[in-house]
Amino acid sequence: MLTDSTKSGANSTPAAADPLVQVTGLKKHFPILGGLFRRQVGAVKAVDGVSFHIERGETLGLVGESGSGKSTIGRVMLQLDHATEGSVLFEGTELTDTRGEALRQIRPKMQMVFQDPHASLNPRMTVASIVGEPLREHRAGSREERKTRIDELLDLVGLEPGHANRYPHEFSGGQRQRIGIARAIALSPDFIVCDEPIAALDVSIQSQIVNLLEKLQDTLGLTYLFISHDLSMVRHIADRVAVMYLGRIMELSDVDELYTDPKHPYTKALLSAVPVPDPKIEAVRQRVILEGDIPSPANPPPGCPFNTRCPVAQERCELEVPAWRELSHGHWVACHFAE
């Protein structure tokens, strides 16, 4: 007799002693409206029951193909979007039911760095006013103190004091991303969601920004959720990694273990698809080529979300959602057959 293991899947939580952030059973469904009366006719299950924690000072990498729900997780964690269900505990405070002034008080501690430094910076504001905006908004310090702080921030991210009075369009993509980072750290946050922070940058500039993020983490004691589809960069920057597919986390573990000994068939396929810049290795690499495309999150397959493309799927996979199991210490996986 087959049992429905969805419930246990959503509730078992990889918990740490004192995590900075604890996410449990988180869901975000976007309504699909249709028909004459714009009634809800369905839902995009962008995030469909995920649980994980982030420890203080660590970088959790969040990888997965486009549309898998990575950005939505980041936005819901920072309360830029309301959760449909589930909990986000930040330093012990439940964020999903925090509103108004209480939320405003917490906001400075959690910031976001966006993918597109062009779109996220107001073209009519100078660098100083962009970086100083969060300071003004939260009335941090006097005018003079704010000015000093802005200089300090520009220096921290590798910009010149002389850049303060210039406008975003006068900068290259990499420098614009530095401006975005300066703004994000202005209020001395504890936690930053970096949502594809290097995806729009040239290869030679990507490493500059990643090195900067690492330096800031060390000097300021920051905790990162690093969202990226670049699995090579995530191996470099992350301490632990979560792999998403169709709104769910398929696997989560320590970074080295995930890359050297992946347990989930999707992780295996994903890693094997990433080209390595070494012709000798490429010449002998065995690839798992997945067939077909990712299903729509508006209409995910029943059972394991990966079953339509999984090379080792059995009948059970179409019927039963795999439980979220801890295979070995800190190594979580959602597959019936992973061992």
Partner: protein, 333 residues
């Protein structure tokens, strides 16, 4: 590689754009060959002139503002830059298939997939209508599209990104080209879909013997598919080598910097060594080495003269005044 006549010889190609902000020196004296059946990788960051180089060959850049200032592109004893436009149209999509990112040359959203493939066959090959349809089905099957016959009636938007790219490949291959130019054909795709497309192109190239020019900014992709690689920077070729040589012992400081700055999936890296600074402005013609401001090895000459692409070994060229191997300035005039 066997010493056969190249299928394509490009010499001293220079293309500029006359824009409101000034003249963009997009491609500056680019020369390279493509051998029959060869897989040539072209790498470089955005703005390095990869697309403009390839589009110039087929005279597909908008003119104005673009202008091909000089150069030669020999294909089959003709200069593509000189022959009359009717002849060139025959070659484009006929003997030279191409997949550009540019939406102008991509699939037409209001025409069915089948129509677009058959259109290419109609222009370039004299086939009776019913055979054209058979050939279109055959092509879709060739590129791995399931239920090919039904798919003929699909519009591009009804297909996923990966499927659309397969259709683009089918269109490009419709007339059995000698050369296929693919401009970042997998950049917009997810990595598992990219792997599908790469597998497909590798397989097709083996079966059809088509030479492929594959443009990408991803050094990983090139490592797995190319026989030979050209590295572009600031509108010039800065290095050219067989794929193993390039990755094992890059000779141009830019290539060295690029390979050092990318993390690897298969190794736990230490700190990434980034290249300081930013790519050059293209608003003036190169008068010195365009990489000099970012180059750890730069010396006086680098700031004074633009290095030509020098032969530095068998099948290897580099545009650099510094001899990395012997750690001294190169002994050339």
């Amino acid at each position: 590689m066997t010493q056969s006549q190249p299928v394509l010889e490009v010499k001293d190609l220079t293309t500029r754009f006359d824009t409101q902000d000034g003249v963009v020196h997009a491609v500056n004296g680019v020369s390279f060959d493509v051998n029959p059946g060869e897989f040539l990788g072209v790498v470089g960051e955005s703005g390095s002139g990869k697309s403009v180089t390839m589009m110039s060959l087929l005279r597909l850049i908008p003119m104005p503002p673009g202008e091909i200032i000089s150069g030669e592109a020999r294909y089959d004893d003709q200069d593509l830059l000189q022959i009359d436009i009717e002849e060139l149209r025959d070659i484009r999509g006929g003997k030279i298939g191409f997949i550009f990112q540019d939406p102008m040359t991509s699939l037409n959203p209001v025409l069915t997939v089948g129509y677009q493939i058959q259109e290419s066959l109609r222009i370039h090959q004299e086939l009776p209508t019913d055979l054209r349809q058979d050939r279109a089905v055959e092509l879709l099957e060739l590129v791995g599209i399931p239920s090919a016959k039904q798919r003929l009636k699909s519009f591009p938007h009804e297909l996923s990104g990966g499927m659309r790219q397969r259709v683009m490949i089918a269109v490009a291959l419709a007339c059995s080209p000698k050369i296929l130019i693919a401009d970042e054909p997998t950049t917009a795709l997810d990595v598992t879909i990219q792997a599908q497309i790469i597998e497909l192109v590798k397989d097709l190239r083996e079966r059809l013997g088509t030479a492929v020019i594959w443009i990408t900014h991803d050094l990983g992709v090139v490592a797995g598919i190319a026989d030979r690689v050209i590295v572009m920077y600031g509108g010039q070729i800065v290095e050219e080598a067989k794929v193993e040589d390039l990755y094992e012992s890059p000779h141009h400081p830019y290539t060295i910097g690029l390979l050092g700055s990318i993390p690897r999936l298969d190794q736990k890296g230490s700190e990434l060594i980034s290249i300081a600074g930013a790519p050059p402005s293209l608003y003036s013609a190169p008068e010195a080495c365009t990489f000099a401001p970012r180059c750890p090895w730069a010396f006086e000459r680098c700031h004074q003269e633009n290095p030509p692409l020098l032969q530095i070994g068998e099948g290897r060229r580099a545009a650099c005044w510094w001899d990395i191997e012997n750690e001294r300035p190169r002994d050339v005039d």
